[in-house]
């Protein structure tokens, strides 16, 4: 397990108190598993806990990742139905979603016992990504803004991983911010001046950021 010493700086600080339920981060995501939804719409999804939310950039449908799987709304959140997840994936506890905004067919998801899974058909079917993650507990994903085949993943109790090839392989790149309880990642298009962009992390102790180039 390699560790590269990124420099994380706090963009905000505040008092942290314990929360009961885990409720994890959201990322932008495209894709529409509408054809896989089979149940009648309900006003509220039967969630354990909501973890992540996504807007389909082509149709505007919403995809909700929860402790009990994925849910779909075709009417801006007024009603929901469970989205069947086709394909062989190791779990249903979806903690994070991310999208390749240049190719709306390509979606990524991570979660507990799920690792990182990928869809190339707008969420209709999913398959595990390649090797390299130390555990299957992925709490956050972020797609690089200008190179969408590059993603970062936060593995709970472990660290930050990166793939250069859309999930073909993963490499551990950093321990992460000072507070390791990362709940979400984001990569706005903010150049570092060293050829990369910043990675932002939301934690139980504030927002941190680090350059992704090292």
């Amino acid at each position: 397990m390699s560790t590269v010493g990124w420099s994380w700086s706090r963009t905000a600080a505040w008092r942290a108190i314990a929360l009961g339920a885990a409720a994890l981060g959201a990322s932008l995501l495209t894709g529409d598993p509408a054809s896989a939804a089979t149940e009648a719409p309900r006003k509220m999804p039967e969630v354990g806990h909501v973890h992540t939310l996504l807007v389909n950039p082509t149709g505007g449908n919403l995809l909700l990742g929860t402790h009990r799987g994925l849910y779909l709304s075709r009417d801006e959140g007024r009603s929901w139905q469970r989205a069947e997840v086709a394909g062989t994936i190791p779990g249903t506890d979806f903690m994070t979603l991310a999208a390749d905004l240049r190719d709306p067919r390509i979606l990524y998801a991570g979660g507990h016992d799920l690792g990182v899974v990928k869809s190339v058909d707008e969420g209709k079917s999913w398959a595990p990504t390649g090797p390299g993650l130390e555990s299957g507990h992925v709490h956050a994903l972020a797609v690089a803004p200008n190179v969408p085949s590059t993603l970062h993943a936060w593995v709970d109790q472990d660290g930050l991983y990166r793939t250069p090839d859309g999930g073909g392989r993963w490499t551990r790149v950093d321990d992460g911010p000072m507070n390791p309880n990362v709940r979400a990642l984001a990569q706005p298009d903010i150049p570092t001046g060293m050829g990369g962009v910043f990675v932002y992390a939301a934690t139980s102790d504030g927002v941190f950021r680090s350059a992704d180039c090292f």
Binding site: S27, L29, V50, L62, W80, P145, R183, S204
Partner: protein, 89 residues
């Protein structure tokens, strides 16, 4: 750097792809927005009715439109970049 005006764990973080200065985060205390890359954060909670927010998503077709989900599945929508929210379900 400024402080996010919350006392609880941040649950989500999303970036406005049309303006890299703008990010949103959230917690049990609501939604927070920065327009200066994280230097300063302000609450943007009008209409959220005290909901604990677990997830946010920006509509990439119109980044002024965001959706917020509470941890138990209430959905809120803003069409003005978080200035006001309306419950959807």
């Amino acid at each position: 750097m400024g402080r996010v005006p919350t006392t609880t764990t941040l649950t989500t973080l999303v970036a406005d792809r049309s303006d890299p200065n703008v990010l949103f985060t959230a917690s049990r205390d609501g939604v927070f927005k920065t327009t200066d890359r994280g230097l300063r954060w302000q609450a943007v909670n009008r209409g959220l009715d005290g909901a604990a927010i677990a997830a946010l998503a920006i509509d990439p077709r119109n980044p002024k439109v965001l959706f917020a989900a509470s941890d138990q599945g209430m959905i809120f929508k803003t069409t003005d970049g978080g200035a006001s929210w309306r419950r959807q379900n």
